[in-house]
Point group: C2
Chain length 330, copies 2
């Protein structure tokens, strides 16, 4: 398995990508190509213990920053790690490409270099969410912020294929994120998407409210990228805020509460693992010709390693072959 | 202070509305008119201890259910507690109207009966959110799910007036909910709203991401009602899911962790109070001629009492007078 990794992507690049790559090499034996500024990558590699034949470096002299405008920077920064990564994936130099860099730029570069799968009009970013019940795929969480109803149907079909073949669900249930369960709820856009999903062969449950997403009532939840991104960021933001508030409360508590908190720590850690994105690896970019995994911008080394594993999983399970089969059957 | 209360609204009506009304009467001395099915209300009142001259009942023989289509049911169920409540408020029988019933129907009935304030094209529901820093008003959270950019500007102006005159903030900061901070982010709708807000006299901070809403970086956050509703429901849903997950973790923990959890309880309770909607009372429906407060459908008696207090506060502070002044200065 050969994985290309954007060594310049994410808040602590190239340190965390390099460390995550080494973890993936040592634990799973993948061959990894680090793409980025060679001197900086070599500085990070120095002193680390790893099988050297497993790591290659490809020079990319430019960096697309997290806040660069996506389409423009992909056009202008042809020597960036994201653009070079997408192009080398297209050429078959590696089997999958992973980046924790500028999400919009990764979507744009992948779409331009790799093209879309037959039957797909827009790519979608899928996130596997932990729920009270079973993991749930939410698609799209930011690739396509102003989609047409047809794109949501395509997301449903892609999510169905992914759930069947990667998550091993027999007849995945698909739902449409909305502010109420009734068919009549939502904007005209949502209502149109609802009709298209209802008339498809999918196991469509209808509308789903956010609280029922967490309860695990559906295997796949489709939504526009703007909504999905808000869903993701509200979850992250609230989890951080709640844990900060709790810390403050504990600070002003007596020693009994503090002792209690210390004793409860193992349960907290287990909870954190469940809701922690780093455990779930990266988000597959569904709909492009090739395996592209988008990792969170704040990924640490472990999150990068998990994103690399998710990429390998995608390749192993031939996700795109199944997605194309599924799309053609519609 | 005379408050009209929809006794049939909410998941446990008329029990919780009646109990909440009695709490408000006993603690604050308000005069309350309960609107709903008289016999059911009287059954709930039986055995409760309260000053009888402070409670009046107005018969409303119909009930708009939580899932009834809003506009249609307001047109058809003219004898419902929501329609009668809005009409009695218009006639000046009481100073404010509170309902935990079907939100869409309350918005619709209030708009039809009371009309909109001069300078307002659409009403907006405002929620006061707890944050790590200071309370933050999010508007709109569901009255107007497909707004125009101009409506968001009007929400900003109304939020500004509310923050100044009710929350006593000197120069409230206004921000636009978006999936990134950069001016170039978001849909065309968001970009247009961004330009209008930038060109206004408001203290406009620009775009805000969900995580920064929780950090309390803005006094007022404006968004379309669909997005705002998702924001609200994701927060609620995630908080419930996280506490359920934690309970499960604790169940499978050893006795030391369980002891710890028991000792930590006071801190948890304090945290829950901070993020608990029932503490914050109801959400004002901004932009209509009259004080209307929408309480959460799952309100318990305490939440109803707090919504009644929020209504009284609105009247005391002459919110609408200030909102109109502010709108006219633009």
């Amino acid at each position: 398995m050969r994985i290309g990794l954007d060594a310049m992507g994410g808040d602590n690049a190239p340190e965390y990508p390099v460390k995550g790559a080494i973890q993936a090499v040592c634990e799973y034996g993948y061959d990894i190509t680090l793409i980025g500024k060679k001197t900086e990558i070599e500085k990070q590699l120095k002193g680390l213990d790893y099988p050297e034949e497993k790591i290659a470096i490809v020079e990319a002299s430019e960096v697309i920053e997290m806040n660069d405008p996506a389409a423009l920077s992909v056009r202008k920064k042809r020597k960036s790690s994201i653009v070079i990564g997408a192009e080398l994936l297209k050429e078959g130099v590696f089997d999958a490409f992973v980046s924790a860099g500028n999400t919009g730029a990764v979507v744009c570069a992948a779409t331009l270099s790799l093209r879309l799968l037959p039957g797909v009009d827009r790519p979608g970013i899928a996130v596997i969410f932990p729920t009270l019940n079973k993991p749930c795929m939410v698609i799209d969480v930011g690739a396509n912020i102003d989609p047409k109803p047809l794109h949501l149907l395509q997301y449903g079909i892609m999510g169905d294929a992914y759930s069947k073949h990667i998550l091993n669900k027999e007849e995945p249930s698909i739902a449409l994120l909305n502010i109420g369960e009734e068919d009549t709820k939502g904007t005209d856009f949502i209502k149109e998407a609802h009709i298209m999903l209802s008339e498809s062969k999918l196991n469509f449950l209808g509308n789903i409210e956010p609280k029922d997403v967490y309860k695990g009532k559906a295997d796949v939840v489709v939504c526009d990228g703007f909504m999905g991104n808000v869903f993701l960021k509200v979850t992250e933001g609230f989890a951080d805020a709640a844990s900060e508030l709790l810390k403050r409360e504990l600070k002003f508590s007596g020693w009994i509460t503090k002792l209690g908190a210390t004793l409860t720590l193992p349960a907290f850690r287990a909870l954190k693992r469940k809701i922690d994105a780093t455990e779930y690896g990266g988000a597959p970019l569904m709909g492009v010709e090739g395996s592209v995994i988008i990792a969170h911008g704040s990924s640490n080394a472990k999150a990068i390693k998990n994103a690399i594993c998710a990429a390998a999983d995608n390749v192993d399970h031939k996700v795109n072959v199944h997605v194309v089969e599924e799309l053609q059957s519609y």
